[in-house]
Amino acid sequence: MLGSGIINGLIVTAKNFAGSYHDPERMVTVEYPEQKTVLPENYRNFPFLITENATDPMGTLRCVACQICEKECPPQCIIIEKSKDKKPDATGKLQLYPAIFGIDTSVCMSCQICVEVCPFDAIKMDKVFEIATTDRFQDLFLDRERLAKPNSYYHEIHPVEAAEVDGRLLAERKAAEEKAKVAAAAKAAAAAAKPVVTPPPATP
């Protein structure tokens, strides 16, 4: 009969009206500044650079300025300039470091490709999203100093992923050390055969 469909509709909306007071399945609103949802582990926003040591962020950047991310970045928002000199990295190996590392976050589209292509696990995705500012040039172009965040922070925001990355790095380092040890032993053997005093390499 004419009107039954309309009455059905009215019943549904009335149900939803009542449901909005007691049913969390229906009332899904989160009142943002006061309440916040828990960001999932995989949440990504803008990239940041990992430093090994919080006290000396610029000295212990994992980034070695290989510029792969700069090349792969789809919107071309990363700018890297290699350093002229080399600094030892966490394992003591001499590496280049980025003299300039900038990310234009107003261009960045949070695609995470820089993270995926980085062979050194030096760049990771941040979770900070309340970054609205009034100055697009000064505040959204992040330089090296503002991008660098310690590894502990990475553990804080992506615990599972960070643990996996650290495990892998540790294993790699161990393997490298062992290799170095073997090499050193061979060298030592060679040195024992022909004793020459060599100054130890400067390791900090």
């Binding site: 009335a14 449901g19 009332m27």
Partner: protein, 409 residues
Amino acid sequence: MSAAALTDSFLERAPLALRDWVVNFLPAPLQWLGHHLITIIAVLAVFGTFFAFTTIAERKLLARLQNRLGPNRSGLPWIKGLTLFGLSQPFADAIKTLTKEDIVPAAADKCLHFLAPVIVVAFSLMTFAVLPFGRHLIPVELDAALLYFFAAGAATELAIFMAGWSSRNKYSLLAAMRALAQLISYELPLILSVVPIVLVTSTLSTQNIVLAQGGWTFGFLPHWFVFTPWGFPAFIIFLVAALAESNRSPFDLPEAESELIAGHLTEYSGFKYALFFMAEYFGLTALSGLGVTLFLGGWQAPIAALQFIPSYAWFMLKLIGMLVFFIWIRGTLLRLRIDQLTRLAWQFLVPLALLNVGNAAFWILTASWSGPLQLIRWAISLAIIVIPFILLGRTLTAGYAPRTYRYAP
């Protein structure tokens, strides 16, 4: 409590007493003026506030229907953290619209463009003059109150057309044409739905119509016209026509947001826009008030035992009920198309309303039937309206039905 005591109870007379007390301060030759001015100010103040809270109620109710929270942020200025459930939202809105720039299109007819919102508010407010808000509260007691109400109500159509025409905007023009077609089409069922009441009560005075609905059977069945076999269909027709007359969903064609941007309001901004908005709500409130007066017993209490509550409170409660129903409808239904809209009026509502007039005539003729005849009277009266409703409904929805679907083999 006796009826006389009720009539003169303090609460019932309080508004009048207050008015007389104020008027007495004036010199005697000016007292008649003060009397009327105070009435006007009271109606404006009460219904202005009522309008403000209708807007917030509509937004909150719609939000809840849609599983949202609705506006709940605005509090008081300079007090942080006090949000008052967002109840001060209408005042914030008012300040916003008042401080907005008033933009008039360069090609617009400036005079008409300015006049339209003024006229629409003026005429929609004029309709309040004849509504009996309480036992003693009626701004003007007119003998031909109903005629006056419809005459004043119909003038708003002109204003809407003026708005659409003067804006020099194609959307506005389309909306103006739609508004004219719609409002004129629905004047007819609106007035025809009221005719049975005039027939039965043989009066055009709203106060007398309310008085005719007084009394209860067994003390709890009120003698409201909506509970009669001719009154209920008339009430439904009245509701549909009232929705259409006040441009509310599902008949919001002149403003059809998804088709015509904002219809006749496209080129209005700031205060003028607010005036249209206000007029729309005033119109809706007035029509709801008329519906309450004509069908829902006006200021009469639903149960005899509840008569101690003052009559104007009952009126307002019923009015709020009507408005909530309108909001509920708005939150559920979708919009008709213009041809379907006029078809609904001319092929469905008008014939039904005409039949209903005959139904009321039958009711009057058989007023003397009692006992078992009373049941027969009800049955015949119901048949007069239900059978045409089903038949007309079928022709109206002919060809439209939910379908079943096949699947690829």
